[in-house]
Symmetry: C2
Subunit: 269 residues, 2 copies
């Protein structure tokens, strides 16, 4: 049974705290982004920028959480979970998009979500190289770059699937049956594009991508993104239309009707 | 016959001029990047951010060239070529990666190359959202971000194909025979990743990507990238090992031996 909440900080306080976590993570990840690994180093099992960045960022975030909110739980990618029965649990992925990170593409991000029970109450994606933050909370979904004022995010709505831009991180992520399902959506859409990781879900929230359909996601790959997508007006579920919180096969759409149509195409066959 | 060169500016002067062209293009493209098109607007054939950005950027660059160097030629994506027999010809692609541009991903770039006869003498890729410039000239290959000092680019060398990261912009670009050839390289490489456009060739020059293999490129898609890749220590040719200047099926590698191996895999079958 979950621990009762003694005192629950306001959503604004928690969101401000999430930005502090992202600040910690940014320092740790950027220290390793676009740092060359020479072959000798790699062969000797030495410096691996992703692993180093991942671990350092998660360690920094967990340190801040345990110091400021010892009653909160953590579900992290690198070090597993702690205080699992807490009423509020942070769900952390220090580097979502490790392959983009390795290649030097600025499409990876640090994902910071907060679950209250099983409900995501806020989510933040931080891309420190472009200095972008995308976040969603009860106040809405927002985007900010550097020190510029935040702008409200809104998905693109009212369009047809035939006009839609469909994306997924990579064709490799699908089983052949799931790829056939993905391609049924692709055949009905205007354009299909691979590459993007968490950045694509944020661009969907911002109204530039219409559908993201992926498989094999872990909770820490998606929990933080749910409030961003939903508060921007989008819909995100599993391919079966169930809550996305547990990960698995995930489909996000900017428009509710397009989402209904996409679910049917994914299910058929 | 080509016009004789009356006076040839130094490579440094020409490279500085290329940066001015990129400044012009940045203003024009960023004015249209991540600007929403609503459905009504789109249906009425109204505002199209890519087309508007493309045209405005090329117009601005051509204006500067004709004003400062009336004796130079231009080969542009949008408005075709002018002064074709000039000894020095600018090869311009205002937005390479129009699909990335539409989706809001910062992987597109403005490409500015300069041919002397049929030889690329300098090339510049400008990504104005990330404020990155990658360029190659007789002085070497360089990267700069914002106002920070330029750093020298160097490809990753000495590795094996089995350790290589292979990329292409999209599987859609290949015929089925060419895709089979691409996949032979993919099967021998460590990892294959789609998405990236001109940005991937620059990340190859920077030592983070090992192989880019693509098809259907136009001269303005590749001319500007050749000096960046070569001056960083890489090799770029057609799949048949011929000069890349005319576009077509292009393969770039950070390492000369890997390039030899990749050419064999692309040819077999």
């Amino acid at each position: 049974m979950r621990q009762p909440l003694v005192r629950r900080a306001s959503d604004k306080t928690l969101m401000d705290f999430a930005h502090l976590l992202a600040d910690d993570a940014s320092k740790a990840t950027l220290a390793h982004f676009r740092k060359a690994i020479d072959v000798a180093n790699k062969d000797s099992g030495g410096y691996d920028p992703v692993t180093e960045g991942d671990r350092a960022a998660e360690r920094a975030m967990v340190r801040r959480i345990t110091r400021s909110h010892p009653d909160h739980g953590v579900l992290g990618e690198e070090f597993g979970s702690r205080n699992e029965t807490a009423a509020l649990r942070w769900v952390l992925d220090p580097i979502d998009g490790t392959r983009a990170f390795i290649m030097g593409q600025p499409l990876w991000g640090t994902l910071i979500g907060l679950l209250e029970g099983d409900q995501p109450v806020l989510g933040l994606m931080s891309q420190p190289f472009t200095e972008e933050r995308f976040w969603g909370t009860s106040a809405g979904a927002f985007w900010r770059r550097g020190t510029a004022p935040a702008r409200r995010l809104k998905t693109r709505t009212g369009g047809k699937l035939a006009d839609a831009i469909l994306t997924a991180t990579t064709p490799d992520m699908f089983t052949s049956a799931d790829f056939a399902a993905f391609n049924r959506v692709g055949a009905a859409a205007r354009m299909t594009r691979f590459g993007g990781d968490c950045y694509n879900y944020c661009l969907l929230a911002a109204g530039f991508i219409d559908v993201v359909a992926e498989t094999g996601l872990k909770p820490y790959d998606i929990v933080a993104l749910i409030p961003i997508i939903e508060k921007a007006g989008g819909v995100v579920t599993t391919w079966d239309g169930k809550p996305a919180t547990s990960g698995g096969r995930i489909v996000a759409c900017g428009d509710k009707r397009v989402h209904d149509e996409v679910l049917k195409l994914l299910a058929r066959g």
